[in-house]
Symmetry: C2
């Protein structure tokens, strides 16, 4: 089966090996004549960005790059990026990289025309309606990892450096108008990132599927996304050059982020503050706490997980599924607990307090409060 | 579980009992001050449209209605509708009804600003790029049946009266900007329409799922859509007032149409010309030919159908699934063959010739040619 396709929801997506060559036409389609490339620090001299530059040069676009993006993008990165955006006549953003570059690229496109500070647009109630809609730059998102799914999301996560807290900034116009998913860009992804980002995709699908709320379309996407992860993540981990596995993981990633419009849950509610405090890798952190969170939610999700196990052809229902998540983590060399990624006991109360007010907490099947969240964290330690 | 939800893909959707009350705010959101209601002939005096009118009046909107829409909307309906649209200062279309009203409403919104004849925009190659994009009216779609899924589609089917052929007219801007799925509007749907439209939703999911092409997101939506049909269609048929079943069927309908962006197949390729020639009900016609088409495609879809059966908890794999489609048709009092809906043998060659050039034919897993299509039709007679 050919892996090259065009999809039209949740946005316009070009997927498949070689799809990067669509970048020139994509700029033309979106009436972008002066794009700003936003990318991760560690990609600025990587050979894969050279492919992007070559394509743009071949299509007669000038090359401007902003790459001051940390692993967990923060308000300092945003401030510097806005200086860059406002210094030129940029009329579109090409966000190229992992979740960090995609999120910051989207935030720059949005904030380019805002007068209010970014924290005014935190994803709470209808904050986004305070935004200026006019002139938000069109975004082309090109993921180089398969996990975040930020390429199909309408939000960006930004760390408040001063207060050491991650906040979700939301606006519908932050949804990229074009996504290009070229697996060739992911073939050389380091093994630990293949693992961590892949588990992020899995966590997105799993939490969306388990989150209460009526969204059978999201449920179906989440189920199929988890199946893709099951059939492809270990393959991609063991042989990074496996194009089919890499393409399927790109699909799983954007499916996870599409599905989680339904909701997320405690995996993310724990992972966000841990990432903000310890700068841990987001997807890896999700994977570390996954099994304990599933057990924590058991009474609310047992039936759903049993159906999921059947669909994924995993034996032994609920127990079989939690065993499977451990098998997956073990085969991907994911650290076994939070201590192994540097979390210390003295911060657990702080993390619990932050977790229960994280915007994703409300999507968890079981209500999170300080006490049960602290207990959960202790189990994960 | 609450059945009230807001979804954001493939477009903005308000679903759940009572969601019709969102119509006033929806017009405001879309900057519509003078909407034209487009509805089916047989709905113009129905009590459900009174609910819409009341909501609009309560929100201080004027009421204008165009209801000259036949069961299979045709170029004559379009011509009359365009006269109506151009006679006023309408700045938006509220398409309210079954697939016919939705399709014609969408076509009117699109054609309002076109200079080329409608047939120039048939869904072939890049015809849509010839269209004038500016000023296409925003569309609010409110389905009163659960089948077509036209409310989330970017195309409309129009019958060419002179040549007795159904053509698919496509433009991305024909996607409604807002969809309101209120199950209360479907509670009194006659049993035969509940059956026929419900089987249309099932056919959309099934053909999308079986169509070759790389679209795991569509596959997941299609799978879950079929599960909803399996769990709800007979319930809605037996007790039209079952709100949960009605809501789930509305979901299944829009999931089918979302999924079939991947492709359709021979069920639709046969059903379109049969509908054009005999004016049969589209969904019912789909149901009549369904089992024979699945058997026809067997060698190409056996594995997929076996997985589908597992997911739907149907025993006996491929055979179990075709048996299930017959069980479904029987319980919904669907006619047993094409003869029963008026198709005559002397038109089969004509139908075969039309089927193989229908835009949906290319999505069929097995290639359609005149001879195999004629044989298939004979089996369906």
């Amino acid at each position: 089966m050919s892996l090259i396709a065009n999809w039209n929801f949740p946005t316009n997506i070009k997927i498949g090996p070689g799809s990067l060559k669509e970048i020139g036409q994509s700029c033309i389609d979106l009436k972008i004549s002066e794009p700003l490339i936003v990318t991760d620090k560690n990609l600025q001299n990587n050979e894969i960005i050279q492919n992007l530059k070559n394509e743009l040069t071949n299509s007669n676009f000038s090359l401007s790059v902003f790459s001051e993006v940390d692993t967990n993008p923060n308000d300092e990165n945003l401030k510097e990026g806005l200086k860059k955006v406002r210094s030129g006549n940029f009329d579109g953003i090409i966000a190229f990289g992992g979740g960090s570059a995609l999120d910051l690229g989207k935030l720059l496109a949005f904030m380019a025309v805002q007068e209010l500070p970014v924290w005014e647009f935190e994803d709470l109630s209808d904050n986004w309606k305070k935004a200026n809609n006019k002139g938000i730059l069109p975004i082309i998102a090109i993921p180089t990892t398969a996990g975040t799914g930020s390429e199909v999301g309408r939000a960006g996560v930004l760390t408040d450096n001063l207060n050491k807290v991650k906040k979700v900034i939301f606006h519908p116009e932050m949804l990229p108008k074009r996504v290009i998913c070229d697996p060739n860009l992911t073939l050389k992804l380091p093994k630990n990132l293949t693992a961590g980002t892949g588990m992020d995709a899995f966590a997105h699908c799993l939490e969306a599927y388990c989150s209460p709320g009526y969204h059978p379309m999201a449920d179906g996407i989440a189920l199929s996304g988890m199946k893709l992860v099951k059939e492809n993540l270990i393959k991609a981990y063991e042989n990074g050059e496996n194009i089919e596995a890499r393409t399927n993981m790109l699909s799983a990633a954007l499916m996870g982020a599409t599905a989680f419009q339904k909701g997320l849950g405690a995996i993310h509610a724990l992972s966000h503050p841990i990432g903000a405090i310890y700068n841990t890798h987001h997807g890896t952190t999700n994977a570390v706490v996954m099994k304990k969170v599933i057990d924590f939610n058991k009474e609310h999700i047992k039936d759903r997980i049993e159906k999921l196990s059947m669909f994924l052809e995993i034996k032994n229902g609920f127990k079989g599924f939690t065993d499977y998540t451990q098998y997956l983590c073990k085969n991907l060399d994911i650290p076994g607990n939070l201590s192994e990624i540097g979390v210390k006991e003295d911060k657990l109360e702080l993390i619990a307090n932050m977790a229960i007010v994280d915007p994703t907490a409300s999507g968890n099947p079981k209500e999170l409060n300080f006490n049960n969240t602290l207990s959960l964290l202790k189990e994960c330690l």
